[in-house]
């Protein structure tokens, strides 16, 4: 009873004492290590200061840091990169640019119409076993296969030139039709009938003369796929229209044949404003 209790208390006291000793030892150890860390830090700072002094001393002996007599490599390299990039941009702006690939060459044909840059189209060509088209992003209605069959094997310059003509003419025709729909939709009656290649445009438009409006019909056929101007233009007015309008129709037909479609519209709509 009592003895057992006393023994138990004694055991507990012993354990507690042991624990306390352990923690005291640990704290001592920790304190020692901290002190050591402080020492080492001080040493490190001293050494750093010495190194700095030495470096400064060295520099003072040699003079100013950068030597103007020998230009450092970096600005020269930057200048070279800039001029190469400019050259590549010039090629890109000419409309046909390319990059050699592992198995051939990849061409980029950039198109434009009268100063406006439009889409770019890509051709990934393989050189072996013979010149062939691996992939491309040319629209399906451009006769790429026909042009390739004719020129790709024999004269690649001609191939690229003919393809570039087709693509530029196509985007030119498309641009004119888009401009017409965007800026002159109030003069167009109904829908502008066009097709994927934009080589046939049929539309009705209004012409005002002597404060009356007359409906005209225009049919533009672009027979040459490499040109952005029509090869055949038919402008007609209603049979009961006054005779003077026949002259206007002929004049319009001429305008459409010679210049950009939206510019023709701009010219005669402004002429109407200034005229009657």
């Amino acid at each position: 009873g009592v003895f057992a209790h006393l023994e138990m208390l004694e055991a507990r006291a012993y354990e507690a004492a042991v624990k306390q000793e352990e923690t005291e030892q640990q704290e001592e150890k920790l304190a020692r290590l901290k002190a050591r860390v402080q020492e080492l830090r001080l040493q490190r700072d001293e050494l750093r200061a010495k190194v700095d002094l030495q470096q400064k001393g060295q520099l003072e002996k040699e003079g100013v840091v950068s030597d103007p007599a020998q230009p450092s490599a970096r600005p020269v390299l930057e200048w070279k990169i800039k001029s190469v990039k400019a050259m590549l941009e010039v090629f890109y702006l000419t409309g046909i640019s390319g990059k050699l690939t592992k198995r051939g060459v990849c061409f980029c044909i950039s198109t434009a119409y009268q100063g406006t840059y439009l889409d770019s189209y890509y051709l990934d060509l393989l050189a072996k076993p013979q010149m062939q088209i691996h992939r491309h992003s040319v629209p399906i209605f451009i006769p790429l296969e026909q042009i390739a069959k004719k020129y790709l094997q024999t004269d690649i310059r001609r191939f690229l030139s003919v393809l570039s003509d087709h693509l530029n003419a196509y985007v030119g025709r498309r641009y004119q039709a888009d401009q017409l729909q965007e800026h002159f939709s109030d003069q167009i009656e109904g829908t502008l009938q066009r097709n994927s290649l934009c080589n046939l445009l049929v539309f009705n438009y209004n012409v005002s003369s002597e404060s009356k409006t007359f409906p005209f019909n225009a049919r533009l056929l672009y027979g040459d796929l490499c040109r952005s101007l029509p090869t055949e233009v038919i402008v007609s007015c209603a049979p009961d229209a006054p005779a003077s309008l026949a002259e206007t129709a002929a004049a319009h037909s001429d305008l459409f044949r010679r210049g950009a479609l939206h510019k023709a519209f701009r010219s005669f709509s402004s002429a109407e404003e200034s005229g009657d």
Binding site: S97, K99, Y122, R135, P139, F141, S196, L221
Partner: protein
């Protein structure tokens, strides 16, 4: 107004989601704005459709106008149908002018000369696409408006998109009429099918993003760059491998979104290659098997396989050639001759 027309209009309106009914009726243009304002578009669809039929009765709608509403619905929801791609061939090199009125006239004439009982409707859209809706009858019965085929054709292209639904027997008739109307020689079905019409167009018109090597790259803001992990204690051990995978993936798939396909099917007729000691197959016959990949968006999931660590990069060309070869149904046979391995039939 014909009973059947009224019922057809009613059922078409019921297909449209309630929020879209008003806009679609406006696009249709058959009912005037004042008439549309008399309809309460917040009631249940059953009632809305009854009101629409009532108004169509006042305007004496006929089957042609009802068909236009159906075309508009299918143009806005083309993904409810399965589309197949057909390719036409021609031998001549003359420039095509594609006159739309000419096309429509030739198509109708050709189709009607073979089968009188058809309803044919056309509708043109801004992207040079002509939508043709054909309701088929038989030599002795009127056209069944619920058995329709749809054709989408972009002028001056050799591709036609057809959603035939039922009645495969009328397909040759349809193909012939198309060939004649578009001034081509013949037509064949390509091994390319999907619910997403626009993705099929992207594939054959080459409108999907392909990665071409150029010195003049597209603006960098198009590429998504994940934010750098600011915690310097975390080091990517596999950084170079991850970058290699990204680079190879980008070369194969390009930067932009992929066309949406639901299946790729590979029919294998190749020999089973096993350890000769195991002697699994006694007969030296091709082991026929069909492998089908399906996904809500197959090409995007293939694109994410390597970065997710589930497949090695580069992926098998059998999977990555799908947009370029414009097909998702393949037959793989043994390559005869020197090299072992398989060869994909054209």
């Amino acid at each position: 107004m014909d009973e059947t027309v009224a019922e057809y209009i009613r059922r078409t309106v019921l297909k449209i989601p309630r929020d879209e009914i008003k806009t679609m009726l406006q696009k249709w243009g058959f009912l005037s704005e004042t008439q549309l304002q008399t309809i309460n578009f917040h009631q249940i669809k059953e009632n809305i459709s009854q009101d629409v039929v009532q108004l169509c009765e006042e305007n004496s709608a006929d089957i042609k106008q009802a068909a236009v509403l159906d075309i508009i619905y299918n143009h806005i929801y083309p993904n409810k149908r399965v589309w197949s791609v057909y390719q036409m061939n021609k031998t001549g090199e003359e420039t095509e002018f594609f006159d739309l009125t000419d096309f429509k006239k030739k198509f109708k004439r050709r189709l009607r000369s073979a089968l009188k009982n058809v309803t044919i409707n056309f509708r043109e859209y801004e992207d040079n696409a002509v939508w043709i809706r054909i309701a088929w009858g038989t030599p002795y019965t009127k056209p069944n408006q619920y058995k329709t085929s749809y054709v989408v054709y972009h002028s001056q292209t050799p591709y036609v998109f057809i959603s035939a639904s039922v009645l495969k027997s009328n397909l040759p008739l349809l193909c012939q009429a198309l060939v004649v109307a578009s001034s081509y020689h013949d037509i064949r079905e390509m091994e390319l099918r999907s619910h997403s019409l626009n993705s099929l167009k992207d594939i054959v018109f080459k409108r999907y993003s392909q990665n071409f090597q150029t010195y003049y790259p597209r603006p960098l803001q198009e590429r998504n760059v994940a934010p750098e992990n600011a915690d310097l204690r975390i080091i990517q051990e596999n950084r170079s491998e991850k970058e290699r995978i990204q680079r190879v993936n980008r070369e194969v798939f390009g930067d932009g979104p992929q066309p949406k396909l639901e299946f790729a099917q590979y029919k294998l007729e190749t020999m089973f290659k096993s350890d000769p000691k195991m002697d699994v197959l006694d007969k030296k016959e091709p082991f026929r098997c069909l492998v089908k990949f399906s996904s809500p968006h197959l090409l995007e999931s293939l694109k994410s396989l390597a970065p997710a660590g589930m497949a090695d990069a580069p992926l098998s060309p059998l999977l990555t050639c799908i947009p370029q070869k414009a097909r998702n149904y393949f037959k793989i046979r043994e390559k005869k001759g020197f090299f072992s391995g398989s060869f994909v039939s054209p």
